[in-house]
Symmetry: D2
Subunit: 143 residues, 4 copies
């Protein structure tokens, strides 16, 4: 697996503006764009996103889905638009105040399907204590 | 299973305002509040939610999660606040323009865990062609 | 969707003998072979399968997987050999003594992917109380 | 997290004989019993388990389920009997001939729920290429 992303950070932001409008609403930054590990961060400053000082489940799902898109494109480029076919998430701990980081990688990159995995970490926990774990399957259209 | 909801529609809207802020952003209506089948509708009029004339995956996940909360509360009332522990969704067809309806029911209602199921339908498809299918598990705290 | 299976019951048994050896070990009968709803039954008479008078989780997973194969082949015939890409199961109630019935149907039948759903029922519960619910995704090779 | 298992290897084998009869049929060895990473190996020598020289999906599901039980018991001991509530598996690559190793760990160990993760490796692939990835949720009865 190459360590060189096949899209640029600018291309990712342009795509999310056009295709993933929730990302702007959720205040998402692309921290690291890498075929092996891509990191997205939700700057959950908006009170509206954190009733009770926590991050809503759907925000974590949206963040994982976006991170999966990013890491797939880092591997195959933007020539093909992947489609989410399955997303499964286990919520493990209640995230605390502060940023939410999503670390996504590839479990399998086939010609027709990509399977991804992500761990989500809250600022206050260490790397041993993910607040959520997600897997996603993406269909890659024929080129 | 009773056919009488143990919360009112007003209580659900009050809860979503406080706890599920994405619901207002996503323009969600509670169409039917019933312990056996609860229906939520996302009025996806906002261009921002529908790049390419379709509904983003995370919108469908958020809608399913909210419908699961509603159907659980219709069964057990608001005395206990359930916590999502797992959500898994299969995206089946690309939803077309128009409203998105989420029909949620209960697979199991235990003392500690509730397991729910939902089918999501787009205006242009019939009831035989769901655009997505989701299951969710919720932990019910001790009373 | 046709109501006529595209494989025969004999073809299914021949395939399971060759490809799904666990099915014989688990004593599985094909009760109904139909593109809309296919039913498999595990005759769980063997003490070895039922410590504590119940059916082990992996037996239910194997039964759902076999039922998904059957219902897909009922729809597309045996020309293509589908491959399981994802299987997710929620265990809802402890199955009691007696047979276990798995009712499987299709959520989506695409050219490349089929998504199936199954409910598993134990003899002592009615149709309103499934003991497990499973979904499966299958990759259909190009013909 | 302690690095000392709270059950012995003998206790695990005694439990599987009583509770997980498929394990004997599948010829499973406990390679490493550790709260952080527990490893089970299926010695897939039986022709019946490998039509086409591969390992059937249900065998991998059964192996992951047993590994999850083992790693949970390594953490909490045998005083409580956990119950599988959800198991989700992604099949990534066709396993080749030879042994199948399942490496299981804990994502979350709560008082009521444990969430586990496993990667399955086939002899011929390296550690970078799992043949399957599974997550499981287990309900821990009150003591």
């Amino acid at each position: 697996m190459s360590s060189q992303s096949r899209i640029t950070i600018e291309e990712f932001y342009r795509l999310t503006e056009a295709e993933l409008p929730l990302m702007a609403y959720l205040n998402v930054d692309l921290v690291k764009l890498d075929p092996v590990e891509t990191i997205l961060r939700a700057r959950c400053e908006e009170a509206s996103l954190r009733p009770g000082g926590t991050v809503a489940g759907p925000v974590m799902m949206a963040l994982a889905d976006a991170a999966f898109f990013a890491v797939i494109m880092a591997n195959i480029g933007m020539v093909k638009l992947a489609v989410t076919t399955n997303l499964s998430i286990n919520f493990l701990r209640k995230p605390g105040p502060g940023d939410l980081n999503c670390h996504a990688g590839i479990l399998k990159l086939g010609k027709r399907l990509a399977v991804c995995e992500a761990r989500l970490y809250s600022g206050e926990f260490g790397r041993d204590e993910p607040v959520a774990h997600a897997t996603g399957t993406y269909s890659i259209p024929p080129s």
